[in-house]
Amino acid sequence: MNRYLAIVPAHNEVGAIAATIGEIHAAAPQFDVLVIDDGSTDDTAAAALAAGARVVSLPFNVGIGAAVQCGYLYAQAHGHEVAVQVDGDGQHDPRDIPRLLAVLSAESDTHLVTGSRFLHADGQAGEPRAGHRSTAYRRLGIVVFARVVSALTRQRVTDPTSGYRMTDRIGIELFARDYPSDYPEVEAIVLAHTYALHTREVGVRMRPRSSGRSKISASVSVYYLIKVLLAVFVSALRTHPQGEPGALSEGAP
């Protein structure tokens, strides 16, 4: 039983899941690996079990937000102190996990660390580092979200759509209780901020997907943009407790 948990949401990722699990075991052996099989119709769950991961299989496809939240519920019930989200499709390089953990552990007031593909090692924002490509629509959406989230959280956020996240016990408790549904990453950052959880970004290199395909096509991007902006503004207008970090007990939604 480790203190740390890697949450790997996977939907029909039989081609990549075993490699991802193996890489996490190799790069971050102090992490338990939990695969959330989000209603896969292929043998993702069996492949993950064979690769030595724990597997929670959702009875049908519930979407990335609910799948990730399921991982946080597991971490909450099993007493994990740190949880990191690693996509099952191979985009996130598990070799970055120790760097995320180092930042989270070193700064006692930081509760959420995001791996940003737009942040360089020297802390300067810029073009994504080699290895990552995305469409013009997605780039535009990321720029808009980065501006909005930076303004709302009053700090520079370069990659609000990154799902490569690590959080401590306080973040685990928050996300187990309340996590956005459809396209959760942007909202989750704003949600953490409204609960006074300090967030940080660490530059990472993201890789092309090794299998499967992205859920966000050009035509869906517009819906994604509008839906997430609405959700972010509504979330900012909700009354959240603004006291100490992790003050979740009373008046939470």
Partner: protein
């Protein structure tokens, strides 16, 4: 003379229309009752539709009600008051259903998550307590129950 004939024709038409509305309302009544009897429709939604049918019958039987109500509302063509009321009723109903669907989706999500977590837990427990993630099942179970 021709004016009187025209009035009589209008009178016949109105009577025919009223009969039509009453027949329609009765059909709605019967269909709703049958759906409830087959447990295809819950009583709380049945009441809504029965209420709508009652309103239709009242308007058809009580001549002048629609005219006076629309007059009070400064709507000069009574049928427009009827259309407006029907439109508002429909929009309110659709909004209500959207809320119901949102709540059901949320409950559905929570059920799927709980089921998946319990399924995993049963799987580990069946392999033997020493493999059950090193966690005390009773303690973890208490935590899970007290969670929400």
């Amino acid at each position: 003379m021709s004016l009187l004939a025209a009035a009589r024709v209008t009178e016949t038409t109105v009577t025919f229309q009223r009969a039509g509305v009453i027949v329609f309302a009765v059909v709605v009544f019967l269909v709703v009752f049958e759906l409830v009897r087959r447990r295809a429709l819950m009583e709380r939604y049945a009441l809504l539709w029965l209420g709508a049918a009652v309103v239709l019958v009242v308007l058809a039987v009580w001549r002048g009600l629609l005219t006076s109500v629309s007059g009070d509302l400064h709507i000069y063509t009574p049928v427009n008051a009827l259309f407006a009321a029907g439109f508002v009723f429909t929009v309110a109903l659709l909004l209500h259903f959207s809320m119901v669907i949102s709540r059901l989706s949320e409950q559905n999500k929570v059920l799927a998550q709980r089921l998946a977590l319990l399924d995993q837990r049963v799987g580990t427990l069946e392999q033997g307590p020493e493999l059950a993630n090193g966690d005390d099942p009773v303690e973890a179970g208490t935590r899970a129950v007290g969670k929400r």
